[in-house]
Symmetry: C4
Subunit: 190 residues, 4 copies
């Protein structure tokens, strides 16, 4: 599912066939693809990291009950829909509505992943060795993306959309902060 | 297969690039996507639950004979084609023909899943512990979708298509009824 | 790979959005989709059965050498490209060129599958219990499709293309004949 | 991921529906698809061989640390994006910019695969039996593609793009040379 969603993202990156005839026109068309490539890279990072985390979490989940199955289905529905807000941001990244839709969808996706993980830990569906501390740590890694993205939306009232998108780079130091707080490597832990 | 069909659904949810220039236009275009999003969610629920059920059923299937392989291929052919009626319902949900095509395709899909499961149980292809009772229970969970959807089609003669689609919400209490009848959780049992 | 190719087939089956406004128009558009649905079903059957056969063959392949890996990559390249001739046949099934392209691509695909299987048996890459007889039997099941399809192409000179496509139904009794000759069920054997 | 990227390549190979009415026109349209088919075949070979190599490498990787996970995610991002430069080369193979984009993307993909493999060997993430010699050998197989492709780009200043693409055939003898140097079969070794 993660792999398919990631690969479908690239379908949005294309140049219409048969409309260009000179090299300068093609270079110009490639340059205009930049916002899409940026949106592709950003969503790729989100989905790719979610994939790693999902894998690692499921390695310690012992059994699945009805509620966890439903939570996971919702989570996958959001993963599967990410190509849509990505294309939206790539095409209309200068309009506030696209930024709001992207930030909300990505935040909801990441939060749903954390909710299903927390539920699995609380409901005792994980292996015995997994502590409540590890449950909290896993959920904490899901906070920077929604906090920064949703927190940046009020800025849309005062600065142009591209600056708001730029502020999302704060997610990287925020992730480092969580890693420092829990004294672990953010990638290799769920 | 299930994952791919689900992910392809989202390809229908898109806004043509380069045609909008103001935020109000984009908001309007997003609002017009609502019927597609509803159709996406509905088919996602059908395919996602079928996936869970398929997985759980196959966990107890011991061996596959020629007939079961053919039945499953037909079943997967219907799963794979679901993006088509979904797009149809999303685009033309106010026309009776789209409602009929959607209801018939989804019902046929769910029924085929039940038929292949019943065949496997009857032909003794499942593990020894699986009772005929569990076979009936599994098949019963496949009844609400076709019963409600096909049963709603005559209403097309008297009410507008969107009301017919609304009546499909009856599937949820019907599923609960089956669960109550068999005294089990509908999600975690095949 | 098989699953993805099958699922992508359905992307060709669609009705342009926003161009129809009355139920009668939609019914007419659905009726015009029939040739595509037939092409979809036909390729689905070819890919689906190839998938089953591929799976069963690989269950007895013990090791893979460089040549078998290359043969398989070519085979998968043909499987992956099948959505193209399928769309061609669905759109232009009344033109001889589309029929020729479809028949040649499908025949080459099936033959390549047989060649890689025969190579694996001859080169001793299969498990010890697999006899040369089973190798011949597996390859024989790959003969009806190319024999009937390629054999029908000369008919294009005298009858309209749809009749040539109709003659492909002869594949079914031909498969039965092979099954009778080897005294086995065509589906459950590689 | 590899399978999905390969299968999506074929979406670019298509003939617009409903625009042709005579067999001669269809033959002409098919003939015009040739550059796309060539681009498809070339990328299929790159992705297919990378897939085999990736599989074989991962069979001896014992554990994955954070850095290797990140390297692999980058590698998969490049694999996933290959349908874009492939379509570009198929449509605009006579313009230098398309040739540059294709050569750079494919070279970066192959190099990233080699870097992640070398990192895994150096960081001791592979099984005990894997020697440094095997690490070097694996990386050496990744050299011909970037060396030939990037090395051919200066030729764009003096010869037309199609001749530059033709020079990429040198990759085949270069691969043989590496195989001869390490005295092994290029396909069955990582």
């Amino acid at each position: 599912m993660f792999a398919i969603a990631i690969t479908l993202l690239v379908l949005e990156i294309r140049i219409p066939e048969g409309t260009l005839h000179r090299n300068a026109e093609l270079l110009e068309a490639l340059r205009e693809l930049t916002p899409r490539l940026v949106a592709y890279g950003m969503t790729f990072a989100v989905v790719g990291l979610s994939w790693l985390v999902h894998w690692r979490r499921y390695a310690v989940i012992r059994t699945v009950d009805g509620r966890l199955a439903n939570l996971n289905l919702c989570y996958l529905a959001f993963i599967a829909i990410l190509p849509f807000p990505t294309a939206l941001l790539g095409d209309y990244g200068d309009l506030p509505a696209a930024v709001v839709v992207y930030a909300c969808t990505v935040s909801a996706t990441v939060l749903l992943g954390a909710v299903s993980w927390l539920y699995a830990v609380r409901a005792g569906l994980v292996e015995d060795g997994v502590s409540a501390w590890r449950g909290r740590r896993g959920a904490s890694y899901s906070l920077p993306v929604p906090l920064v993205m949703l927190g940046s939306l009020p800025l849309l009232a005062v600065v142009p959309p591209p600056f708001v998108e730029l502020s999302w780079l704060l997610i990287l130091p925020a992730l480092r902060l969580v890693a420092w707080r829990f004294d672990t490597d953010p990638v290799v832990t769920g």
